[in-house]
């Protein structure tokens, strides 16, 4: 048997060491970390609240358990109305974006894909900008025009891109990506125009672009969470199709995957999860692109493992980043994530010899 070059053998030892990690262990560690950062997220903030009070408030409001402790009314509002929904929203959106990112990467067979690759970010931002500029002020169930148009804009952009670029055949994926880029550019140009004429509303549009979890609240969580969680669950149930696509369209077809149908369904589900997240939190980058790669470095590329663990890691990452952003004086959360996460990811990449050649 012709053996590979010696250098190949050496390099693969490093990669094998990475991939050897058992997924169950990684998942459990991830859950523990998630619980820890979530607790920290609820317990810490710009106002100091003792851990005992935090726990007492949560037990009381969530389960009706009275530990006999007393706390000032503002404490209860801060813990229950401000911090807890924010942490939970961060978990749901972080997990949703990570799953969506992993899905897009697998669907498009492109490691550089992220949840916004089909123009969803530009669509959402333009929708939000239009909502901000319109002199209309409606709110239904704590959702204003902003959320509705951001959500609608994201989905509409994804739909248009898929229709324009989605036919099968050779080069289909490249065409889809390029269509996403083109549509995204058009929408971004319109967005820039909207910002240019926006006057005092510019600040609000800009803060949407930066992304953040300040808009989190119980009513919004109750509506968005099921959307995101159900979409992600349905994606995970289709892990087999995602795995099949790894070898290419024709191989997937021969393995029994209905490529056109699965691609459409998975794109729709991933876009739905992304749109629901973006409507609440604006554009939060980095999670959808980097977390799946990080997880693959640990447990290999099989979607059945990557998707759930990406959800856990993505949730923990966004909760931790939001906490850091709050404690650092309300810095935009995307900035914190990139500043902390990118160097760490580069370090991990450096340890993997084979890297990610395209």
């Amino acid at each position: 048997m012709a053996s590979g070059a010696l250098s190949q053998e050496l390099g693969s030892v490093g990669l094998a060491a990475r991939i050897r990690g058992r997924p169950v262990v990684v998942a459990i560690v991830g859950l523990v970390v998630l619980a820890a950062v979530a607790l920290a997220g609820v317990g810490l903030g710009s106002v100091r609240i003792s851990p005992a009070d935090t726990i007492a408030v949560i037990l009381w409001r969530a389960f009706g358990i009275d530990l006999g402790a007393t706390w000032a009314p503002p404490t209860e509002v801060i813990v229950w109305e401000l911090r807890l929904p924010r942490v939970l929203t961060a978990m749901v959106i972080g997990g949703g974006l990570a799953v969506a990112g992993a899905t897009f990467q697998g669907l498009l067979r492109n490691p550089l894909a992220d949840p916004f690759v089909l123009g969803t970010s530009s669509g959402a931002a333009l929708g939000a900008a239009i909502a901000i500029l319109l002199p209309v002020d409606i709110a239904i169930l704590a959702f204003g025009l902003l959320h509705a148009l951001a959500f609608g804009g994201a989905l509409l952009a994804a739909f248009v891109v898929f229709r324009l670029g989605g036919a099968g055949g050779p080069g289909a994926l490249t065409r889809l990506l390029l269509t996403g880029y083109a549509i995204g550019s058009v929408l971004a140009a319109l967005l820039t125009m909207a910002m240019y004429v926006s006057g005092s509303d510019l600040r609000q549009i800009f803060s949407f672009l930066l992304g953040g979890l300040a808009g989190a609240s119980w009513p919004r969580l109750v509506v968005a969470a099921p959307l995101i969680i159900v979409s992600c669950a349905l994606i995970v149930a289709r892990s087999r199709a995602l795995d099949g696509l790894l070898l290419g369209d024709s191989a997937a077809r021969h393995l029994g995957v209905d490529v056109r149908r699965e691609r459409g369904i998975l794109l729709a589900l991933a876009s739905m999860a992304t749109a629901a997240g973006v409507a609440i939190s604006g554009l939060i980058g980095f999670v959808g692109l980097v977390v799946p790669h990080l997880v693959r470095l640990l447990v290999g590329p099989s979607a059945r493992r990557v998707l759930p663990i990406s959800a856990i890691v993505g949730a923990a990452l966004l909760v931790a980043a939001d906490l850091g952003a709050r404690l650092a004086g309300d810095v935009p959360v995307g900035v914190v994530m990139a500043l902390v996460g990118a160097p760490f990811f580069l370090y991990l990449l450096g340890r993997t010899r084979s890297g990610y050649e395209l």
Binding site: Q8, A237, D243, A251, H254, V257, G300
Partner: protein, 254 residues
């Protein structure tokens, strides 16, 4: 009494727009047969193969799998019955070989829970059978073309289907590995009863290892039978346009 062929093409015509690729092809493949399809470039062999495996819908004619029109058979059932060695594709992510081969179990594994012990055993068996055991934990993207080709054959072997279809499976292999693959195919066929349908470009190998050769030329099947009859001087000169002396054929049937 005629036995129902396991896979059959009846009057199949395939065309792209106005361009006809395959015209009126008839082929009946019995269970347990070992068939090689040969022909010059552009004869329509790969296209014909795609119709046989249910990927392309014929403009005219029909393809039957175990008697039923293949278009009506459920995708997953087709995948469990016909295994096609994947084209050499670029993997987007790093993937160890045993996970690549595990993809062959896709048509069998339960959708939610994934690989069962029996699936894992089949994967290991396929890897050993094809002879790439020492590559098990290597990143498939780092393998040489030949090694990757063997791994992809292992994927199809892991699929444990009744029919194994290969399109030029030895294109990147040296002669020793080409022979090894041919012997593997013969072994799968004779020991396990797997039906083999392979498009080959090497006439000598085809004649040596395959008891039935189908010759295609210009979209039509021009010969179908044992090598002595189908790869005779007339066909070699007429279809392939070369001096028959250049092609060394075995003295008798394989």
């Amino acid at each position: 009494m005629t036995i129902e062929p396991i896979l059959a093409a009846e009057g199949v015509t395939l065309a792209y727009g106005s361009r006809s690729i395959v015209t009126d092809a008839n082929l009946a493949i019995g269970a347990g047969e070992r068939i090689a399809i040969v022909g010059p470039n552009g004869a329509g062999k790969s296209t014909f193969l795609r119709a046989l495996t249910g990927v392309l819908t014929p403009r005219a004619g029909n393809v039957r799998l175990c008697g039923a029109s293949i278009a009506t058979v459920d995708r997953m059932v087709v995948a469990r019955t016909i295994a096609v060695v994947p084209e050499l594709a670029q993997l987007p992510f790093a993937m160890p070989v045993d996970e690549v081969v595990a993809l062959g179990r896709l048509p069998h594994e339960p959708p939610i829970s994934g690989l069962r012990p029996s699936d894992r055993a089949a994967v290991v068996a396929a890897i050993e059978r094809v002879g790439v055991g020492q590559l098990r934990r290597r990143d498939a993207r780092e393998l040489s073309m030949g090694e990757r080709q063997l791994v992809f054959i292992a994927v199809a072997v892991a699929q444990a289907a009744s029919i194994l279809v290969l399109d030029e499976p030895t294109a990147h292999l040296d002669i020793r590995h080409q022979v090894e693959v041919m012997e593997l195919l013969r072994d799968l066929n004779e020991r396990d009863g797997t039906t083999i349908v392979a498009v080959l470009h090497d006439l000598a190998l085809a004649a040596h290892f395959f008891p039935r050769i189908v010759v295609m030329d210009g979209g039509r099947i021009v010969a179908d039978g044992p090598p002595a009859a189908t790869l005779d001087e007339a066909h070699i000169r007429g279809v392939f346009g070369v001096d028959p002396a250049l092609v060394r054929l075995p003295a008798g049937a394989a």
